[in-house]
């Protein structure tokens, strides 16, 4: 049996938060662009994206959160139909 009585002191306890390293989209030098006409909704890009910034909708295709996408290029490489191209960041 344990009673949790709130600790009145500052403790090193952290909670889930998006963007702990800031807007990591600023890390990009190239960015992925999806051609959803080619997308077959296989979900490979979403499964392999290390940053969880590409999401697949079974009807519409893939969308990218450019605020956090680091532009690593994995999505473009794993896409079996080459629906994603890496273009130079402006």
């Amino acid at each position: 049996m344990v009673e949790i009585i709130h600790i009145q002191y500052k403790v090193p306890i952290a909670k889930p938060k998006v963007g702990v390293a800031g807007k990591t989209g600023s890390w990009r030098w190239i960015k992925p662009v999806v051609d959803n006409s080619k997308c077959v909704k296989c979900f490979q890009c979403e499964i392999y994206c290390p940053d969880n910034t590409i999401m697949v909708d079974p009807k519409k295709g893939a969308t990218i959160d450019y605020e956090y996408c680091k532009g690593c290029g994995i999505c473009a490489e794993v896409c079996p139909v080459k629906a994603i191209t890496m273009v130079k960041e402006a």
């Binding site: 009673e3 009585i5 600790i7 009145q8 002191y9 500052k10 090193p12 306890i13 952290a14």
Partner: protein, 391 residues
Amino acid sequence: MPKVVLTGNYTVALAAKMARVEIVAAYPITPQTGIVEKLAEYIDKGELDAIMIRVESEHSALAAAFGAAVAGARAFTATSSHGLLYMHEWVHWVSRARIPVVMAIVTRTIGTPWNIWSSYEDFFGQRDTGWILGFAMDNQEVFDMTVQAFKISEDPRVYLPVLIGLDAFTLSHTTMPVDTPEQEELDKWLGPRRQGYVIDGSEPLALGNLAWPEDSEEFFMDLQRGMEEAKKVIREVDESYGKAFGRRYGGLIHRYHCENAKYHVISMGAWSGDLMEAIDILREEGYPVGLIRMRFIRPFPDKEMYEILNGSKGVIVFDRAISFGSLGPLYLDVAANLTKYTRKLPYMRNIVAGIGGVNVTHKDFYELVKATIDDLEKGVEPPVFTWHHRR
């Protein structure tokens, strides 16, 4: 109340059992081994409803105890000397996480060379870690302090781990009578475990993520505040234990013959008993000397120390450890903390003795204290630092 005759080690085990510990991390090291052996016996006989994690090292012992404590279980471990040094990184980790844990240390000399007898450098090595540090003089106090350690550590004003020291062999392997409370009374007094947060899947929490300097310093300043609060809590616990079970010691300091004392001696641990015998004789001979026996050195009872020593004609601090290249660690604490309250210190003497486990008798104490007071009365100041050694 059942009175038993137990060695210090078995007393620690009994206290942990009666405090209803739930997880025991066990690793053997002379002279602590009896503690984990007795706890294993209690568990296997069904007398203690706990899980024993037979770890593969002391470093893992405190790590495992910490893991269980973070998950919400009352955890306990014990070690000594090199085992304590091996887990030292964990000693810091636990207190800085503000997780209540209790640990017993059977103080033993550190090598090189191998030496199994009592001195306090392993205990003092934990001085700066943020643990509450208590030290017992006899097995009765070992029992009382170990049980109280859980209540102090789990107090929401504190939430800091507590370490209880006892001398190798002099206490750990020596049988003494120990008075114990009734289990139901102790359950009522101690209550269930309390902690400030728990990591058990009920909500996603991360303990110990990287913290920037300013944030880190704020955590540590709050640790210092917890230590300050602990002084109050230790006294409260001593009082309420006294009320419930009939034994109180006076909080962080046990005063012996301090009323109308002009000279004071300070010590900690089992040899304080021999020092008390010496003081009895000196008092009979008319020497106005009193003993300040440290029960807790962290938090350090600075104000109380000053209140007793204000106006003292001479103070001797007996240290059973040395900070090589400097003085005894207890002396360093006493002298430095007095400067918080006064610019004028009394004459203070540091006598280091008993290192390596050398036996220091009440005769040694009698001669040393008598000689010091005699000199001071004559207007002669003995050297401030002496390492008293005899074969």
